[in-house]
């Protein structure tokens, strides 16, 4: 059977039957993205391997319970990845000895951390999403960065940036809505 040709939902159904080839196919399809998100947030390849492993084991155990009513599969998958990585980030923040870098080091997604390999995808969907991120007002981009990629809570962001908590909440919401509006037309909200 050609697993590579199967849709995500078909692979999940097979995972429900404990079909490991389906899990392997799903890993081949999304493993690099899950790992990349963890690396982006943790800045630690070894810890990111653990996160990726947990995420796919979670898919292996809970894949059968997923239905399209829960939204797109990638949304679900990245949500698991994001939550797991945030748990790890906050655990590390509590245990300062394991923290890798100062939060401010990677505030700007566009500037310091683009590797040469990224240049190869300059015209890809990543570039489009990044461009949309760049078009956000800097305060909105900052709250998204601090919350989504750095795992700070709303209150922590308010304390760190000196903004009222209500403003932080509104900026988060506006940023997400603007991002979606900017990209849905261009990408058909695929990904």
């Amino acid at each position: 059977m050609n697993y590579q040709g199967l849709e995500d939902l078909e692979l999940l159904a097979k995972i429900g039957e404990q079909d490991r080839q389906a899990l392997a196919a799903l890993y081949d399809r999304y493993g690099r993205r899950v790992f990349a998100l963890a690396v982006r947030m943790l800045n630690d390849p070894l810890g990111s391997e653990e996160v990726t492993q947990d995420v796919f084991m979670s898919v292996w155990r809970r894949g059968a319970s997923y239905t399209s009513k829960k939204g797109k599969f990638t949304t679900w998958l990245f949500s698991i990845t994001h939550n797991r990585t945030i748990d790890e980030l906050r655990k590390r923040r509590r245990d300062r000895s394991r923290e890798n870098a100062d939060i401010d080091d990677h505030l700007n997604i566009q500037s310091g951390d683009i590797s040469p390999a990224d240049a190869a995808v300059a015209r890809s969907e990543y570039a489009k999403i990044r461009a949309a991120m760049e078009r956000l007002p800097v305060e909105q981009k900052s709250v998204v960065e601090l919350s989504y990629f750095k795992g700070l809570t709303q209150t922590e962001i308010a304390t760190k940036t000196g903004q009222p908590l209500g403003t932080v909440k509104t900026r988060m919401r506006l940023a997400l809505k603007k991002l979606r509006t900017a990209l849905s037309a261009e990408m058909g909200a695929q990904s």
């Binding site: 039957e17 404990q18 079909d19 490991r20 080839q21 899990l23 392997a24 081949d28 690099r32 993205r33 790992f35 990349a36 690396v39 982006r40 990111s48 391997e49 990726t52 492993q53 796919f56 084991m57 292996w60 939204g71 797109k72 990638t74 949304t75 990245f78 949500s79 990845t81 994001h82 939550n83 997604i109 390999a117 990224d118 990543y126 999403i129 991120m133 007002p137 998204v144 919350s147 989504y148 795992g151 809570t153 709303q154 209150t155 922590e156 009222p164 403003t167 909440k169 509104t170 900026r171 988060m172 919401r173 506006l174 997400l176 809505k177 991002l179 979606r180 990209l183 909200a189 990904s191």
Partner: protein
Amino acid sequence: MTETKDSMESNDNLDPRFENLAGYVLGALDHADERSAVENLIENDPEVQAEFEELSEAANLLATSVPPVEPPASLKTRIMEMAGQGTRSRLVEIVNMYQKQGGRSGPPWWRRAFQSGLAVSAAAAVLVVVVGSALSYQNNQLGNEIDTLRANLATESVVVANLQTELSTTLSDSENRVATMKSEIKVMEDDFGAITEMVVHQEEMVSQLGIVNNALRQALSDQNWLTYVSTKEGYQVESWLASNTQQVTSTEPTASGLIAVRIVGNEAVFQVHGLPQPQSGYAYTLWLMGNGDPQPIAQFAVSEIGSATIAFLLPQPLQFYSSVVVTQERVDGIGVDPTGTMVLFAQTN
């Protein structure tokens, strides 16, 4: 633009239902009860649910804004192994289930039928069809499970093969590294040997230079002595003896000598430098030649640095002789003529 943005960002008009929705989607809520409240709203309020889906989609875009990064190949192997452990547990589950179902659908069914006295052929036929169908259904189910397990086994075999390949590669790499290190160590040992040899050679050279230095010092001292003697005692150098004359064919090219004679009287001093040690059983012999028979003056030994100084009385004034030579002669008796190898020669004035 800034004013518009600031006014848009005011929190005053935000519907409280949506207040924590973005924070929930971004994973930025502070407390579990806030999360529960949002989840409750999503569950029960269609408007909140629609907004949640919209914001989730945007969060999904954030995740995909990160360019993919290739994880290590070993990660996939590890995940598949862990999943395999889960599958083995499932296999045990299926086998248990099969045994339990076999217990219910086997002998007791037909045994009970025969024991009940209903062994009528028509009833038996119905029973066979029912049991057959049940077993067939069960077999199909188990067949599917077994197919899945076979597929998993095949996947596992691939994982094991990959692991073996990885191990083999690692082992091979390690062996190559060890071989390279051994080779490097050998080169280092050779280098060390060569350096040691050079050091020894240099030490020998230093030792030889020390000897030469001593010889030069000795020669300088001798020259000084001769100068002193010449000045104070009335001697004058009469003949320089050299090894690089046509008469001398086989000797030390750097050896030299001289004879100084007292201006008044027949006393003379003979001095040589740079002569090697003579062959075993031989000694150097000074001859005066050319006035009748060769006249052996003295046999002498040389110091470690090849020097010797001899004072003697001239049988006749030096000008009566045509030449002065030094040869190697046997120590057990000098013949009437020099027969040994000539090492120094000088014509008298």
